[in-house]
Symmetry: D3
Subunit: 135 residues, 6 copies
């Protein structure tokens, strides 16, 4: 149960701005499925457009990192931030983009190791080496 | 200033177990530089060996993800966990492994976007779509 | 399912200290409803009294910030801390204090934006400008 | 020391896109000061424009929440996310928008209290009351 | 629903490495119960072995801290990291190791208080006293 | 540099409420040293009293957990919350209460391990075993 209403297509259609984004989500993903995150955001159509616009640009635009790598980074951040919804949705997205079980296992291993050394470095308050600061 | 002593080479050499790890760090990295994180961990030689052993296995072993991708995931996790030391050291490591300014920019963009949608999904308590749960 | 028992009224009444707090919660809120958080805390009556005492003082006492603004700040912190229970209960509390859908949308937008720039500032390890340190 | 270069005006001027944003920052704030966050982001001009665009829209546009309230929410999120740079810069921004010492004290008290009850609710894994889920 | 399959005994037995760990978990704990965390990790047998190996060493080996104290520290970290699974499993483990209701209440009180003062120290950006840095 | 003024004794003495707390801190700790956290909080005397009162009660009152164990739990929470000030001050406090290097090493090992398994459980979204929910 969300803290805002999850808009049905019918409800989203009341706002031309929201509906336009829903149509773009469908066209971009070549799928009729609009997941709950966008249905929740649709309560604030300008925010919906702003966030979707960023997602399209950051995750789908031409670039130097393959889309799958971007998704795996997304999963890593979502895990560290403890966002259950995002871990689920971006793990599914990474799979849809071809993540193999082996790649998933390595992603998990890096996330786990980084979390451990992050905590150790913080607990020991290790000062940054001068070598890392030289730009 | 750390909450533990940063061991000099001379001090680390007092423990054969710690010294062996220092030598392995140097051999593996083909560099004489041992950064502060390991000098701090060296106060507990078994822990030093355990953490270094994992790092070698997770970050350097043959696998499906290129070492650079693993480093970028490490930076992403370290950022979300707010570990200043780790952000510095693993950004430096990613650069040493060939991360271009363009890849760094994309990494930052994904980290920023994920952090935003993580917060929004949490604030709206969006329920996970059934489609993402199908295994 | 909690990691502690959620005390019923009957169980809470066994401890005069816990019961007194339950009665104060009801009197203060002019409602018979005592939510699960307090029923969980009631296992430790002095802690129940301490936390409730703070809440009354911090959230309800006369002050310079309107109670609704305090609730929205509470929602923001709860979101960043990933506390599902608290996001639900304090969003409900904010609504009860008059938060409009428009205010909620703006609250969400600020939370999302701040989370993004927080991550970017951390990932780039931006040094604090001297201008911000001048007291 | 940042993990990216902080661009001087001269360097930012090399990119028309970055320079345009710097000029808009100066015009919007009616001040010549461009703080380090933007100088760091300027290494990726499209990202600079995207983030500044959001900030202008979310923090400065007409709305139902006074700009000062938005700044205080920003400080709250930044604190919970442990972003030192952001706590400094947005506390300064809140002061510039008129935050009184009394309002600051209340903001701090709510942040502290919420952090405590967030942790307690999580540690006790309190289930959300049905009453909070009724939409 | 997990993002990976939870392996049944039959499935785990396909990998000699995974099965050996399952048998060691059962022997070490003198119980037939293998909880979901290990069934999830079993998809990556070397990672399963690595994590279980650490857990055995860190939580069960002879040492200066009683096993119960280690479990309570585990609960504290899991709470601050917002890991619902871990709060449940390690609270159960602490109970199995003899944690009394009174000790649990004190653990919760320290977690709550620390979370509050952590947030306050961060919000006020209190500089570390020289006295704490003298090693 | 803090976001609030660190009050000198002379400044704190202006508020009888703040001064009384400073005197109690000194009497309780049998030391003239008042660390920066309290000097920062002193800008809001009622908040200073509220937080100090809790600290005295939670950390120093008779109870089932030895004061040293409480301090180590405090360090664990402060680490997971990324509070540099608190990691320093409570590690110092734990040392003052007798924490040995061996105990510190074990504390660090548990913090590191828990952080790793927390991240793994979150990344895999492991469902809580029924066995842990039976109360």
């Amino acid at each position: 149960m969300a803290t805002v209403k999850l808009l049905t297509d019918e409800e989203a259609r009341q706002s031309p701005e929201a509906w336009e984004v829903f149509e773009d989500i469908r066209a971009t993903r070549k799928s009729d499925f609009v997941n709950n995150f966008w249905r929740a955001l649709a309560n604030d159509p300008p925010q919906l457009r702003r966030v979707w616009g960023q997602l399209k640009q950051v995750m789908a635009a031409e670039g130097e990192l393959p889309p799958l790598v971007r998704e795996m980074i997304y999963v890593a951040v979502s895990t560290a931030n403890g966002c259950s919804y995002c871990v689920h949705s971006h793990t599914a997205a990474a799979r849809a983009k071809g993540m193999t079980p082996g790649q998933h296992a390595e992603l998990l291993a890096v996330i786990g190791l980084a979390s451990q050394t992050n905590a150790l470095a913080t607990a020991m308050q290790v000062p940054v080496d001068a070598a890392f600061l030289a730009e």
